[in-house]
């Protein structure tokens, strides 16, 4: 067991294990802090700044991002001060300037009391540049198919040389962790496509389920699962069974492996 530390969040005295982030501790107490780039399954990167809180006591009185700030003995956290609300609203307005039609962002804006944004950029897309897709592809899947290019206003998610990716395995985890649906996966017939707002990132032919014959997963993806989950145990998948048939049969199949394909924990 990790050592427990005492801290205060919004006047409430709580205990939390060392190493936990302020965001997690607040969540455990049922205190809502808006987040966008944070995802339970990924290392925090602190890029969206939405989760800011005001801290004092154990550290200098300042504003910190709660998804990165760790709890500390004697830390005093305030999540709803005037200053935090004002700054948070500004951050949302700025994000809305780029993604004015993102439903998820509009919902968050509503929760934080933002009705409209003072900023208009002209060029609009739903990507909030949170980097979840890049992180999941790199750190969890290990495919390294996605990357950032350019800086500032031109920053965007793409592939190497901005062409169809050779490294994408078509798992769709990027689409799954994307908070706004800016990166999408689409299965049509026996073809899977992965898109961003400006580009088809990858294309795959889907392999058929050995039970029902429905096309359901790209070969590269199934191979990766074989590689990672089965071969290490000296096993090998011989039949590929789609999630539907797995439900009916209750037997192990590639999609029961805890990454991609519907098995990632998803939090908003």
């Amino acid at each position: 067991m990790a050592t427990l530390v005492n801290l205060t969040i919004n006047g409430r005295e709580i205990q939390a294990p060392e190493g936990m982030t302020v965001l997690e501790a607040a969540k455990n107490e049922g205190i809502f802090i808006p987040t966008l780039c944070h995802h339970e399954a990924l290392e925090p990167e602190g890029t969206c700044r939405l989760c800011i809180v005001e801290v004092s006591g154990a550290i200098r009185h300042s504003i910190r991002v709660s998804c990165i700030q760790e709890v500390k003995e004697g830390l005093i956290v305030e999540t709803e001060t005037k200053r935090i609300r004002r700054d948070r609203r500004l951050i949302i307005e700025l994000l809305l300037g780029r993604s004015p039609y993102s439903k998820e962002l509009l919902d968050l804006a509503g929760k934080c009391g933002v009705a409209t944004s003072r900023f208009r950029t002209g060029e609009e897309d739903d990507c909030v540049r949170c980097g979840r897709c890049v992180r999941v592809c790199r750190d969890k899947i290990g495919a390294y198919a996605l990357c950032w290019v350019n800086r500032g206003y031109d920053r965007k998610v793409t592939t190497d040389f901005e062409r169809l990716s050779e490294y994408c395995i078509g798992c769709g985890s990027c689409a799954q962790v994307c908070p706004t649906g800016a990166i999408r996966i689409e299965d049509r017939g026996d073809e899977r496509k992965i898109y961003t707002w400006g580009q088809v990132i990858a294309r795959f032919k889907l392999e058929k389920c050995t039970e029902c014959g429905r096309p359901f997963a790209p070969k590269k993806y199934l191979d990766r699962i074989n590689e990672r989950a089965y071969k290490t145990k000296g096993l090998e998948l011989v039949d590929y069974i789609c999630p539907e048939c797995v439900k009916n049969k209750e037997r192990p199949s590639p999609v029961n492996v805890p990454f991609g394909g519907g098995a990632m924990p998803f939090v908003v």
């Binding site: 996605l146 290019v149 592939t159 190497d160």
Partner: protein
């Protein structure tokens, strides 16, 4: 692709931690840009994913995916230079060379670039040609500057 050339550079950085930027610099200097094939080869040999390399190449102004001219002209369009009329200097250069920002002349003699503050604000507006810095540049002086580099090449 110039395997021997890239190998030579890679050898030099063997075992150096954080060597990617150094490698890219040398490749850029040798070929005047970073050719795709060379980058993919570097990725294979260093085990650094090509997406990471591509990201870095895109991030730094210094790196280019297109061949650059023999003389690279960088016009500072940072705040101070902008206020002091760098835009006009840039326009003069564009007109004179008949190319846009980010392009090179047909004879590959000159490339034109914009940069954001090179830390020479007291010299604003500043223009850098290769390693040489020109301060308080007026649009009129553009031809003279270009000539210096044309002739230095012939002589």
């Amino acid at each position: 692709m110039d395997v021997a050339g890239v190998n030579e550079i890679l050898e030099k950085f063997q075992g150096v931690k954080g060597n990617l930027i150094g490698i890219l610099h040398e490749v850029q200097n040798r070929y005047s840009y970073l050719p795709e094939e060379e980058l993919r080869y570097i990725s294979k040999r260093t085990q650094i994913p090509i997406t990471q390399i591509y990201s870095i190449v895109n991030f730094y102004n210094r790196f280019s995916l297109e061949p650059k001219g023999k003389n690279v002209i960088s016009v500072c369009l940072g705040t101070a230079c902008h206020v002091k009329g760098a835009g006009k200097v840039m326009d003069a250069l564009r007109e004179k060379l008949n190319i846009d920002i980010g392009e090179s002349t047909d004879d590959m003699n000159f490339s034109l670039e914009e940069v954001r503050c090179i830390g020479a604000c007291s010299l604003a507006p500043a223009v850098v040609v290769n390693e040489e810095t020109y301060g308080q540049v007026k649009p009129k002086q553009v031809s003279t500057i270009l000539k210096q580099h044309e002739s230095s090449e012939n002589g």
